[in-house]
């Protein structure tokens, strides 16, 4: 009422547009999920389900389950490293006047502006040159490279003057530096740390090209799915895709729920 939007946007065309675009956005996902319950061997119409056989096929596939475990390990470990390193760096830059602070900040966030493909190639060439064998460890290292700047940026943006004053108050009351960090700063920054960690988990969980290039025998789930694509359209791919989607959405909703609720209080 208080601000009048374009009246040219009359109700009918507006809602037709909204329905069409939501349709476009949900079409492939809807098809993916629907045909994961397909009864026959191809995920194309006609639909003759529902059947859970493809989910069964996924959960009894040992390679798939290994890849799932690998993905979870890499995601949790790389995100933990990213958020710890990112937090320490953000704390150092936000709380101390260092020379070239802006340059250092640009330096740490630089990987955000480079394609994953290029990061992956650089790592591949470097590991080859140094004779480092490709493994889950190298994948994890790569994922820290892309998630560290993200965690740093999120935590850094949330470190305001307000928190600095609270830390000063703690110091004034006799807290030592590590006590300030552990008892005041970390609890205060908890939502940002949590957001950084879980965003990193979803990014790592979904990351393909780095995992593809710097892994060999132990692969993550996206790489395993990629190799399944060679078999063409297959309801089993639908099933595993729907499952991954479910996990990601649950993670995002959890993140939203925790961070959003804390902000309200």
């Amino acid at each position: 009422m208080i601000h009048r939007a374009l009246p040219a946007l009359r109700a009918a065309p507006v809602w037709i547009y909204v329905i069409l675009i939501y349709g476009f956005i949900f079409l492939p996902v809807g098809v993916l999920v629907l045909f994961s319950f397909q009864g026959s061997r191809v995920p194309v119409p006609p639909f003759n389900g529902p059947s859970l056989q493809w989910y069964e096929a996924v959960f009894t596939d040992e390679r798939m389950m290994d890849a799932l475990t690998n993905s979870v390990i890499v995601a949790l470990a790389s995100s933990l490293v990213s958020v710890v390193l990112g937090f320490l760096a953000a704390y150092a830059l936000a709380r101390h006047r260092l020379p070239f602070a802006r340059v250092l900040q640009g330096f740490l966030t630089a990987p955000l502006t480079v394609s994953y493909l290029i990061i992956a190639m650089g790592l591949l060439i470097t590991f080859n040159q140094l004779g480092v064998p490709k493994s889950l460890l190298t994948v994890g290292i790569g994922h820290v490279v892309i998630n560290l700047p993200l965690c740093f940026a999120i935590v850094y943006s949330q470190m305001g003057a307000h928190q600095a004053n609270i830390e000063r108050a703690a110091r004034d009351l006799g807290a030592r530096e590590w006590q300030v960090l552990a008892l005041v700063t970390v609890p205060m920054m908890w939502p940002a740390l949590f957001a950084g960690f879980f965003l990193s988990v979803t990014f790592s969980w979904d990351e393909f090209i780095i995992a593809f290039m710097v892994s060999r025998f132990e692969v993550t789930l996206p790489v395993e799915i990629w190799s399944m694509l060679r078999t063409g359209l297959n309801p089993k791919t639908n099933a595993v895709g729907s499952f991954v989607f479910l996990i990601s959405v649950a993670t995002v909703l959890l993140l939203d729920f925790v961070v959003f609720r804390r902000k309200k209080t």
Binding site: L9, F245, V249
Partner: protein, 288 residues
Amino acid sequence: MTDRPPRYLSARVRAWGLLLPAFLWTIAFFFAPLAIMGLYSLWQRVGTRLVSEISLQNYEKFFAKSFLFQSLVNSIEVTVMVTVISVLLAYPLAYILAERVPRRWQRLALILAILPFWTSYVVRSYSWLLVLSEGGILSNFLLDMGITEDPVSFANNRGATVVGFVHFFVMLLTLTIYANLVQLSPSYRKAAADLGAGPLRAFLHVTLPLTLPGIMVGAFLTFVLCIGDYITPQILGGSRELLLPQTIMMQIARRSDFPMASALAMILMAVVSLVYLACARWLKIDRV
């Protein structure tokens, strides 16, 4: 002994200590590999051997061999197309979400609009295959409607790649433009109306320019992510024309020509940097 105040561990030393792990990690696993790659791009592969002689041969080859250069042209064409279409589709959606949807439904509507964003990237392209390929949803729909008589394939061409990309980036742009729209003070539009601007002119003179930062940030992200992506064109684009990331992967996987792949990667980085410099003005705009 000179009379000096007692010394404590300097705050600055401690700060450097906290910064060091992240700093070293970024150097060791980001900058150093980039530098090594830059060096590689000046080497050559001869037969199955690497020759560590500095020359610009790979770059010369890039401009001389039409299929390499063409893949860059293809990439730029596809990326520009995707960016423009995505902005045009996302802006109205973001505007409707911010202005026409009641406040308490906005969050839900937005979460829904970007929900498929969280499907696995590989799976998302695959699911477009389900829609576009021969015998897929679209083909089946057209058959049922009697528009075609035989199953048709919409996959394995540039159009399919563009559709797959647009699907992803519409969601991204809706997010950045929506975020820009809702942080605009409503008094800007009030002021425009108050000073005699009709709804259309208020939009063109005030709302649109004030949401330019959101558009530019989203468009830049779209450009960077789109031009460096291998998965979408590989799954949806078919083999008739290649985009730059596909040529890069081809150099590595089929030919093990790391120097050439490195040179192509450097060219990709150069293109992104040029676009960044061109957009920097809008990406860093003061939002007073």
